[in-house]
Symmetry: C2
Subunit: 209 residues, 2 copies
């Protein structure tokens, strides 16, 4: 098994795809899957898939394939989905609500414990069973509940303004949907950026060529 | 310059990142940028960046860096952002609205010309200046307006049910936010999938390790 630092970003980014696809197979009642089948469906070479898995110990492929349920579970553990990191959502616009519903329904790795918005008219509204709070209450909420992750669904300027406060309040990780580049100003926090526009540009490229 | 088929998915996926970052530099008034500076900010090696650019003709790096505005424009052209592909959005829930606002405000490559939802109570509501129509009117709308791209912001089952109709109506490309795997059933259409959950799992991995 490789140590964490030896594992490339590309390998790490393939893990969620494996996990998701194995989840689909499991749902469909498939018991075993070969690396060839995985490769065909995921558009990767079978040897790349075997290499990826070997970095984490190999998962006991025995010539006739992997046990779907076991492999799904093992990859979930590697991803840390059995943990329950507490998260708060900042920004309850359309995107924030869509993201909240996603986190609340998928339930892997994170527990959403608070939703904040600067619009006073939204205070007290519920998203599923979580009330929207005013951002003025962030400090007190964080002192009491110690969330570790902030989900940033707010505009660039607002994100930039709020980030230092969030870090002061104990937030160490960001799931960032804003276009503010958090790592540029705070290189020591963990950030995962989502740029849905990149995907749209990729589609544009595919159509054009 | 390489032919289209020689260019790997990994290179193509870096183009939107270059384009986005160059756009930020341009906005900040930066005139020239070296491949070293690009590499530091984007977490890629300078030689990888030069290789990527060389595939498209090199963009005239002259020892003292690239012209930001020109490079931004050139990469935009490669991405096809000067085209205007007509798109329809299916599903006007929170995610659909967030995506519609994105497409309508960013305006690169696509024009959103119609929004559809199966909920009758939403028919006639406006998102920006586009009315939500009932899905029953899709066929007629497509015959009259010939959209090429469908943005799928609806649940898996509904997406699966609607996809063959959309293809019959002339849709050739999908920006797919649903978990339905369009390419598995229709390998000849163009699909760009967005799985925001993959990004959340990656964050979970980063926090865990």
């Amino acid at each position: 098994m490789s140590s964490k630092d030896d594992i490339s970003v590309a390998v790490i980014r393939r893990l969620p795809r494996y996990y998701r696809f194995l989840g689909e197979l499991k749902k469909a009642g498939v018991v075993r899957v070969s690396s060839r089948e995985l490769s065909e469906r995921l558009g990767l070479t079978a040897s790349q898939i075997r290499q990826d898995f070997n970095r984490y110990g190999g998962f006991g492929h025995q010539g006739y394939g992997y046990n779907v349920e076991k492999l799904h579970e093992e990859i979930g553990k590697i991803l840390g989905l059995h943990y329950c990191y507490t998260a708060i959502l900042i920004g309850s616009g359309n995107l924030g609500r869509a993201v909240a519903n996603h986190v609340l329904s998928e339930q892997g790795g994170f527990e959403l414990i608070g939703i904040f918005d600067k619009k006073e008219s939204l205070t007290g509204q519920m998203i599923r069973e979580i009330p929207i709070r005013h951002v003025d209450g962030l400090d007190e909420f964080c002192r009491e509940n110690r969330p570790k992750v902030a989900i940033m669904c707010l505009p660039e300027e607002a994100a930039k303004e709020l980030t230092p406060q969030l870090i002061d309040m104990g937030i160490t990780s960001f799931w960032n949907f804003s276009s503010y580049d958090i790592l540029l100003d705070y290189p020591d926090v963990l950030v995962e950026n989502v740029h849905i526009g990149d995907s749209l540009m990729t589609l544009c490229y595919k159509i054009t060529w």
